[in-house]
């Protein structure tokens, strides 16, 4: 296995992923280091890339008038970032800013999507992992909505 294939195989998102697919995905990927403050993408921009965080921290943000940028969540070691490349209309729903020096595997999402269209087996395997990750994210969001640490005495 080459460096990128190995890096992909070691990332939790691609755990036990078929080797032949890793090889072809590695062909559209690169390992990139970002520094603190780098903007990966802005809210509403074209979703062309799929990010796998090897080490570091990225803040998912949105903007609220009068409040500025609000961090919704940080995405960290071993997590994936950005699924909008897979979902029409292929626009990022939130912005992403690097909040600590971060090493990532950056995959060409448009090319990966084309490969998924052409090879449903790859598409299904990838989709299972995306759904798993999205479910985990949804579960966390539901927990956040519950506001479990709130002081009930202050709630009306």
């Amino acid at each position: 296995m080459k460096t990128l294939e190995l890096a992909l195989a070691k990332h939790p998102f691609f755990y036990n992923f078929p080797e032949e697919y890793l090889r072809s995905i590695a062909g559209q990927a690169q390992i990139v280091e970002y520094k603190e403050g780098d903007i990966l993408f802005n809210e509403g921009s074209d979703a062309r890339k799929f990010y796998l965080i090897v080490k570091g921290k990225v803040a998912l943000e949105t903007y609220a008038p009068g409040k500025g940028a609000i961090v919704l969540q940080t995405v960290e070691d071993g997590e994936m970032l950005g699924w909008s490349w897979l979902v029409a209309p292929y626009k990022y729903r939130f912005g992403a800013r690097v909040s600590h020096k971060t090493e990532m595997i950056v995959i060409n999402g448009e090319e990966l999507r084309r490969q998924c269209e052409n090879d449903p087996r790859l598409g299904y395997e990838l989709m299972k992992r995306m759904v798993h990750a999205i479910t985990f994210r949804l579960e966390q969001t539901r927990l956040l909505v519950m506001d479990v640490y709130a002081n009930r005495a202050n709630k009306k």
Binding site: T74, Q140, V148, N151
Partner: protein
């Protein structure tokens, strides 16, 4: 009369567990806008007081006392540090009801009543030679603090020590100075996350359970100790079990309304258990069938 100078046989005197011993407030620290820590010194003058004091000062990590604000009533409050050489009781709680709100305006020199210590404790001895994962949510860090201090005092007795702490916002983080000190301690992995960040916050944002896939521990040789809102513990248990931890290695500290604290009144009944007497610390195996049941 200085009670400590006199040799008593503590077995000869059995203090009534329903009678509070008298303590003096020695210090009061606001941890956050609604959470505070008080330290208390024994001030009773009877032999029964002295015997009760010794038990209270020697409480095991995870146990609690009933604190009595005179004229208001009693509430269970976590012991948030073991009594050090100064022989002070340390309690941390949050102002949520009439009694804890009255407690939140105590001053140094005020007197309170203390009954206890009550309940089961964290398995410090049972964790020897093992990795220890501690997961605290919100004020749940208070009952875990004595066990963290005990583990760090005998650091070489344990494997990895991983502390995960989730708070609502950065300004709701309690024991900030301790957290800074623990983070610096060799052999301690400490992760803090908040549900809602602020502009100044540069740490993690998200629920505490999401940290579990990232941490390093040996599932076959790990003890986990959890304290926080029940729903948070439920998801934490789920995440730990996905990592391979068995139910009898996961300890949770449960909470219900308590009144007598000695298993008589039934206020804190939790299925076949009384939280005050059989808990508050249970292995997950013991209560797995009871968690997340709306009727319980």
């Amino acid at each position: 009369m200085i009670m400590e100078e006199i040799k008593y046989n503590p077995e000869a005197v059995k203090p009534d567990p329903m009678v509070p011993a008298i303590y003096r407030v020695e210090s009061f620290v606001n941890e956050t806008a609604d959470t505070f820590t008080v330290t208390l010194s024994p001030s009773g003058t009877t032999v029964a007081d002295w015997v009760a004091n010794q038990k209270q000062l020697d409480a095991a990590p995870g146990q609690f006392n009933m604190l009595y604000v005179f004229g208001m009533g009693e509430v269970p409050v976590s012991i948030s540090a073991g009594a050090d050489k100064n022989r002070l009781l340390t309690h941390t709680t949050r102002a949520v009801g009439a009694i804890t709100k009255a407690m939140s305006v105590l001053n140094v020199g005020d007197m309170v009543g203390v009954r206890g210590p009550f309940g089961s404790s964290w398995p410090v001895a049972g964790a020897k030679g093992k990795d220890v994962v501690l997961v605290a949510g919100g004020i749940g860090l208070a009952p875990l603090r004595p066990v963290i201090l005990a583990l760090l005092a005998r650091r070489s007795d344990f494997g990895r020590v991983v502390i995960l702490y989730g708070a609502r916002t950065p300004k709701d983080i309690i024991f900030s100075e301790d957290l800074k000190a623990w983070k610096k301690q060799p052999g301690v992995d400490l992760y803090i996350t908040v549900d809602r960040g602020t502009k100044a916050w540069r740490g993690s944002v998200g629920v505490v359970t999401r940290l579990i896939p990232q941490i390093i521990f040996d599932p076959a040789n790990t003890v986990a100790m959890l304290c926080g809102p029940e729903i948070m513990m439920h998801f934490t248990i789920d995440a730990l079990q996905k990592r391979g931890l068995s139910g009898n290695s996961i300890y949770v500290s449960m909470e219900r309304n308590m009144k007598c604290a000695v298993g008589l009144c039934g206020h804190c009944q939790f299925g076949q258990h009384f939280i005050c007497k059989d808990g508050p610390v249970f292995t997950y195996d013991k209560i797995a069938g009871l968690l997340r049941k709306p009727e319980i």
